[in-house]
């Protein structure tokens, strides 16, 4: 958590200070993509090296996938409906 705050602040500083070469700031998408790929690689190692998962893959693989899908879809649905509701309410508010 502390790490994230420091990284965010440092990145913001790098992006704000005018003396930092544009070349560095333009690297930001590469940094994000590189970080994501490294993280996903780490996630892979976590799965592959976890004997609880590899041994019981048949038993837990399917239910884990279903639970992942349902919780993602549910989160999307809840927030989607909430956003729609607020958009409608704000529109009516501005028309009054």
């Amino acid at each position: 958590m502390v790490l994230i705050v420091i990284a965010l602040f440092l990145g913001f500083l790098l992006g704000t200070i005018k003396y930092v070469p544009r070349k560095i700031v333009n690297l930001r998408n590469a940094l994000i993509n590189g970080g994501v790929l490294l993280l996903v690689f780490g996630m892979g190692i976590n799965i592959g090296a976890n004997s609880q998962i590899t041994r019981n893959l048949k038993a837990i693989g399917f239910r884990a996938l279903v639970l992942a899908l349902l919780s993602s879809l549910g989160g999307m649905l809840g927030a989607f409906l909430m956003e729609r509701y607020f958009q409608k309410a704000m529109k009516e508010e501005s028309q009054k």
């Binding site: 913001f12 992006g15 970080g35 490294l38 690689f41 780490g42 090296a49 239910r63 649905l77 956003e83």
Partner: protein, 200 residues
């Protein structure tokens, strides 16, 4: 990018399974993850500085943005509850697993400790898959379902790991919303998860 994500994941699984990486290196593995996270969030910080869209987005929604994580969490738990009807798993178990909101390291370890290795492994894999799903579908979800759905999709992970892809997909607009939603989701994981375990 999707192709590279799948490739990187597969490579990781094989490296882990075949134990290609020596154990003395694996011990320091969490440092690598920290570095990856640092680099990623550094990029996000630069993006935040590069445009002011994120601040305008927060200003437009005002106090309403607090409802984003809460509607996301309620939707997530509500829909996950349905799994208890057709999977060989009890409802407190589905709720406990779903309460990880994608934070697989914490939810896996917590449930391993509280409810045994079987549910621990299920929570670990389910939440890891949720994070992976977010990585892969952020762009599509943003295009077809809008801002809030994109942020809620990643659950607790939008404050660090999936923050980068969300910022890229929304060209910086959603960075503040994602950070806030991720932090609130994360705060509720250690509260909600042990709560469901009591009903097991």
């Amino acid at each position: 990018m999707t192709r590279y994500i799948v490739l990187s994941l597969s490579l990781g699984i094989l490296c882990g399974y075949w134990k290609i990486i020596p154990s003395f290196l694996l011990q320091h593995f969490h440092h690598l993850v920290d570095v990856a996270l640092f680099v990623l969030v550094l990029g996000v910080g630069m993006e935040l500085a590069a445009n002011k869209k994120a601040f305008l987005e927060v200003k437009a929604w005002g106090w309403r943005i607090l409802f984003l994580p809460f509607s996301g969490m309620i939707g997530s738990l509500g829909v996950s509850f349905l799994a208890a009807f057709f999977l060989p798993i009890s409802w407190p178990e589905t709720m406990a697993v779903a309460s990880g909101f994608g934070w697989y390291s914490l939810s896996g370890a917590l449930l391993d400790h509280l409810a045994g290795p079987h549910l621990g492994a299920t929570a670990f894999l389910a939440n890891l898959l949720r994070e992976l799903l977010a990585f892969l579908s952020v762009g599509t979800v943003f295009r077809y379902f809008g801002s809030w759905a994109t942020v809620a999709l990643g659950g607790a992970t939008t404050m660090d790991t999936t923050l980068g892809p969300i910022v890229q997909a929304s060209t910086g607009r959603l960075s503040a919303l994602a950070l806030l939603s991720g932090v609130i989701h994360s705060l509720f994981v250690p509260v909600l998860l042990p709560f469901w375990v009591r009903f097991l």
